[in-house]
Amino acid sequence: MNLRKYLKVYKKFLHTSLASELEYKTNILVDLITAILSLVGSIFLLSIFFQNNGYIGGWKFEQALIIQAIYTILNGITNTWFNPNLTEIVKHIREGTLDFVLLKPIDSQFFISLKKINPSGFLEIMLGFFLLLFCIRINQINLSLSFLSLSLITISCSICILYSLWFFISTTTIWFVKTWNAIEVLRSFLYIGRFPLNSFSFSLRIFFSIFIPIAFITTIPSEVFLGLSQLWKILVEVIVASVFLITSRKFWLFALKFYSSASS
């Protein structure tokens, strides 16, 4: 793979999608206001849950706020990259415009996963980081090199799992043509990621760890922040993320053999 070429193309992707989005100034403004209101609403909801009892699933409000911060960062990443690109796959397949992608001398997964960005998602990422910094302060977390690297690793793994799940569902469009509902279900499951895994019943914990690994996405990085995570959990997250990423790639290449293109 020619890295220089891919960087050059990505720079162009950034430029063209930013330019496209900036054509509609009001839309960006509305998106920015929505992101701020959504974060305020989520924190308010979380505070209501903690009002009667100071703990949920063994987590204090200040600790649960870390999960909210990580969720906000991941949601920002989802809105910046995954939502504009991966929902477009369904459109590409339904309308047959995937033809143009497949005939370009560039990796098709790279092209359809990164072609667009939604700049308003950046604000959500920034808000998440500010909230995270605030949580580090109120929970009196010591910032060390090992802590920072583990946080980075677990958050990167979360991004990989989330991307792979979404990409996997979008790829099935090649057979099922319409998969909007499945993506909506995935997004609804993500909302669950705002709460500590221990706050759910045992059976739900198993479900969210094995079948739809939402637990890995927010809880494990949060545990790393609080120094509660065990090494085996981090290792499992790395393995799960790698397996998901490789499987999504293989699945895409396999699915393309069944692509029949839309009729003209």
């Binding site: 070429k5 992707f13 430029h15 003209s264």
Partner: protein, 331 residues
């Protein structure tokens, strides 16, 4: 000797198609127990195309023209048979193969809707690994050939269909491919835009010796661009050869309207052994076979007092229309 750039042998393609009975009961049945059957849309076809050739694929809707084109450019996997395009197996979509070809579809677009076409050109240039200087040079050259200038800087959504199609062409040709697959490129364009596009394709073919495979329902596209046509009928090739031979075969006679000096001359001409289509006063229309047209006209001019005459070619659409419904042509 000109080499074959496309070589297709015993190519077939089947699709699984589901069918649904009408009504609510049919919908429920279709939801729970979907009936699918394998439909062979391309049936054991073979052909070769030489470098620099412009070949038109003719056929009715659903005959399989677009499926053939999509298999040639590697979008669809063939079920049986082999395809070699420029020495590559298309469905492997190797980088060097993709740099050699382009697909233009009249009903689909790749330009970024909210931005001027120039942005899409530079994006494509980076995908094809062209530096800025080279990209600029090619955009200038192609925009001159296509006669577009200011349109390059206007958002695509504000361009007319004709301007958009020209921009689509430029975006698809920036990497200077030597094989062009065109699927109904003039669809929806007005007569002038169609003519300009055909002029451009002729010029591009002449200057670059690019091979062009074209499907179109506008007969003018086929007659002005293609010397050779491949007729597809229900997934099989019904004719592969020169267009003028096909036209001669399909319309072996010409109609000649003759205006005689007097009605008596017209009656005499009608009784002299020619096939008469109709006769009104001193005007008579006769049918003459293509092969004997010169000698017959000579006889008429020498033996009758003729005021004027008109040779009518049958409308090309009518002639080609016969191809779309017939299975086989032995020429």
């Amino acid at each position: 000797m000109v080499q074959n750039i496309i070589d297709v042998r015993n190519l077939s393609k089947s699709f699984d198609i589901s069918s649904k009975e009408p009504g609510f009961k049919g919908t429920i049945k279709h939801f729970f127990r979907r009936q699918t059957k394998s439909l062979k849309v391309i049936k054991d076809i073979s052909f070769e195309i030489k470098e620099g050739e412009i070949v038109g694929f003719l056929g009715a809707n659903g005959a399989g023209k677009t499926t053939i084109l999509k298999m040639l450019c590697g979008l669809i996997y063939p079920s049986e048979g082999s395809i070699l395009v420029s020495g590559y197996l298309p469905f492997r979509r190797k980088e060097n193969f993709l740099k050699n070809i382009t697909l233009i579809m009249g009903q689909k677009q790749q330009l970024i809707w909210d931005l001027p076409p120039i942005e899409s050109f530079y994006l494509n240039a980076s995908i094809y690994d062209l530096d800025k200087f080279e990209a600029k040079k090619r955009i200038k050259k192609l925009s001159e050939m296509l006669e577009i200038d200011e349109e390059l800087f206007i958002p695509v959504r504000k361009l007319s269909l004709g301007q958009r199609m020209k921009s689509e062409l430029l975006a698809a040709l920036i990497h200077e491919p030597n094989i062009l697959f065109l699927d109904e490129p003039t669809l929806g364009l007005d007569i002038n835009a169609q003519r300009n596009l055909r002029k451009f394709l002729q010029k591009y073919n002449k200057e670059t010796n690019a091979t062009i495979c074209l499907t179109s329902h506008y007969m003018k596209d086929i007659t002005s661009l293609c010397k050779r046509v491949i007729c597809v009928h229900e997934g099989a090739i019904s004719y592969d050869g020169k267009l003028d031979l096909l036209l001669k075969k399909l319309s072996p006679v010409k109609e000649i309207l003759i205006i005689c000096r007097s009605e008596e001359d017209a009656i005499k001409l009608g009784n002299s052994g020619f096939t008469v289509k109709n006769k009104i006063k001193n005007e008579i229309t006769i049918k003459i076979e293509n092969k004997s047209i010169t000698s017959s006209l000579k006889t008429i001019l020498n033996n009758f007092d003729i005021e004027d005459l008109f040779i009518n070619e049958p409308p090309i659409d009518e002639v080609i229309g016969k191809v779309l419904i017939k299975k086989d042509y032995d020429i």
